[in-house]
Symmetry: C2
Subunit: 366 residues, 2 copies
């Protein structure tokens, strides 16, 4: 088992990465005070892993409560969240209750936000079971639900007490979700680490074939890169925004199509191609970099172009994105492979052209 520390002072926490560790009592023990523990999971994950996690918590003397919600991005909304509150209140869970998020990014965001606001905040542990959650969403304390007008619009920064990443859970992960998770791994390389990008270019097929050693390395390196950024900028006032590479365009895709039509990682993949294209049109990188970006994302089996929406629609959807500062949409752009920067692009024409160049049967720009 490997351990990475997210260095956040009083809110510091460990990420444990290993095989068959999701029912390792010793990892939960420091966080169970003999009170109650509520495991939030979904209908897909529950039959696979719920009983093992519940057993570990019960063995530590916790009164356990299972909260099983529907699968999919649609669960990340108010009514599902309210059903979690209802279950917690009905079971008389108090401020000492530990919430365990067992599942992918949706469960982590939903259960994490529930933990952030239930009785003004209780402790929680992330047990991510998808590659996307293991390399990205379980680390860093961002929690949220969606609003009909925008993704992740309602949320909180609420750090987990620990992240328990059991790589054996990837054995049961559907192929499409594995690829979607790779999008965030690739994001960490492209935005932050040239050497890791090179490693990915040499190992993407091993990752798709679920080579355990390759997956373990990709997860560890992603967590290290993310942990460094989060430690330096917990609340995304600066450098942390670089982790949103591909996400401004990606969120527009997800919102425009309706949540869940494309997986988050798929939208981010196409979003990264668009962001690279915009970087090139802003003169920051040459076309050889955009080709590398496109090639790596394509080899991972991910979309290299966005769905057919007009540039106007993209712009409209992006203008309510959280990263809009003073009404201006800001983009994470590449300065090189492994180096990125945040800037507000004032030349709307360049943004339109980048979108047009990267959308399926794109309508003509005006």
């Amino acid at each position: 088992m490997e351990n990475i520390r997210v260095d956040l002072g009083a809110r510091a926490y460990p990420i444990h990465i290993g095989r068959d560790i999701l029912d390792d009592k010793s990892l939960y023990a420091p966080h169970v005070g003999g009170g109650s523990a509520a495991i939030v999971t979904n209908t897909i994950v529950a039959p696979l892993y719920l009983e093992r996690v519940r057993g570990a918590l019960a063995a530590l003397g916790a009164r356990t409560l299972n909260i099983v919600v529907d699968d999919g991005e649609r669960a990340k909304e108010w009514h599902t969240l309210d059903s979690v509150f209802d279950a917690l209140l009905q079971a008389r869970c108090d401020r000492q209750t530990l919430i365990v998020a067992l599942g992918g990014g949706v469960i982590g965001d939903l259960a994490g936000f529930a933990a952030a606001v239930y009785q003004r905040g209780v402790s929680f542990i992330q047990v991510p079971t998808t590659l996307l959650a293991q390399v990205d969403s379980s680390v860093g304390g961002k929690t949220a639900i969606n609003h009909p007008r925008g993704k992740n619009m309602i949320g909180a920064f609420h750090q987990p007490r620990a992240v328990i990443t059991d790589v054996a859970t990837l054995d049961t992960l559907p192929e499409r979700e594995l690829r979607a998770g790779l999008a965030e791994v690739i994001k960490h390389g492209l935005a932050l680490d040239a050497a890791f990008t090179q490693w990915l270019e040499g190992n993407v097929e091993r990752l798709l074939a679920r080579d355990p050693a390759a997956l373990a390395y990709a997860i560890r390196r992603s967590c290290e890169l993310k942990a460094q950024i989060v430690a330096a900028d917990e609340r995304e006032s600066g450098r942390r925004a670089l982790l949103n590479f591909g996400h401004t365009f990606g969120h527009a895709i997800e919102t425009g199509l309706g949540y869940g039509t494309w997986l988050h990682g798929e939208a981010v993949a196409a979003g990264m191609v668009m962001a690279a294209e915009l970087s090139s049109r802003c003169g920051l990188i040459g076309t050889e970099v955009t080709h590398r970006v496109r090639a790596l994302i394509g080899r991972a089996g991910l979309p290299v172009e966005g769905p057919a929406m007009s540039p106007d629609r993209y712009l409209e959807l992006m203008s309510i994105d959280k990263k809009a500062a003073q009404g201006k949409t800001r983009f994470v752009l590449l300065e090189a492979v492994g180096r990125s920067t945040l800037r507000a692009e004032s030349d709307e024409r360049k943004v339109r052209d980048a979108i047009s160049a990267c959308t399926r049967s794109a309508p003509a720009t005006q």
Copy 2:
């Protein structure tokens, strides 16, 4: 104008107390970045003060947005909160938006919680317009909405950037609300400060007559006492719980009757009498103290007994109160006038007897 500082390190903020200061531009200026400012208020307060606050913000260059919700405790729930999010999103308010809570405790809790979770947190300013909000709820960063299963069950600790307390707003406050606010003033005296309690015993009629100097002193002293406690224990892990004197019983009254039947301060008033009665039955204080508590609360025109619910019903309602630790209900008890302590009372019989002794036509205990 007087200024009190709530000393919370990076989250420190001032409480400004004065007459006709709610449209003083200089108090808002440090917090308006030329972006947008959303004023959340209700249908009662809007015609009285909204335009003055809006004018001050607009004069600073802010794009202003008015969000007017229904009056009353019933507004402190999800659907109203969602209407606030909807208005913010529709107006494309971003992370730099300042939210101004203009109104009483309900507006402060609702708008404060909206600020805590809108796009994972934006800045907000409290402009309290009721005595209750001025002496209590606007200070300390507690925000929340209610859940059908319990009061303030969903919320966050989110400190305001400033509190602007305009005592002139009390001129328009209904008599019943003035008295309800006095309950929290009396709470600060009884739980924390014997000298202030004595002052209240000598001045309660002046306060009811809205003597400006007396009100200004009561507000300032309450804010000082609360600011000290909050600075020492922001997230209520210890001493801050003393501010809940009367609230465990009080919340049971509010929940049992349905929110809004009794005002919060009225429920807390009867709750303080019950808590004093329990303190006496636990041998912490003599009956002369319970008589002083009852007398002061009665002179303020506040209820000295709870509504006719059975002790069983009280106990049931209290067991899901947030202050329940490990399933045990904890009470703030008096050790003397001006000195209080938090303890889990294990002798349920004493709690039942205290309730019976302080409820209107109370059913017999079992």
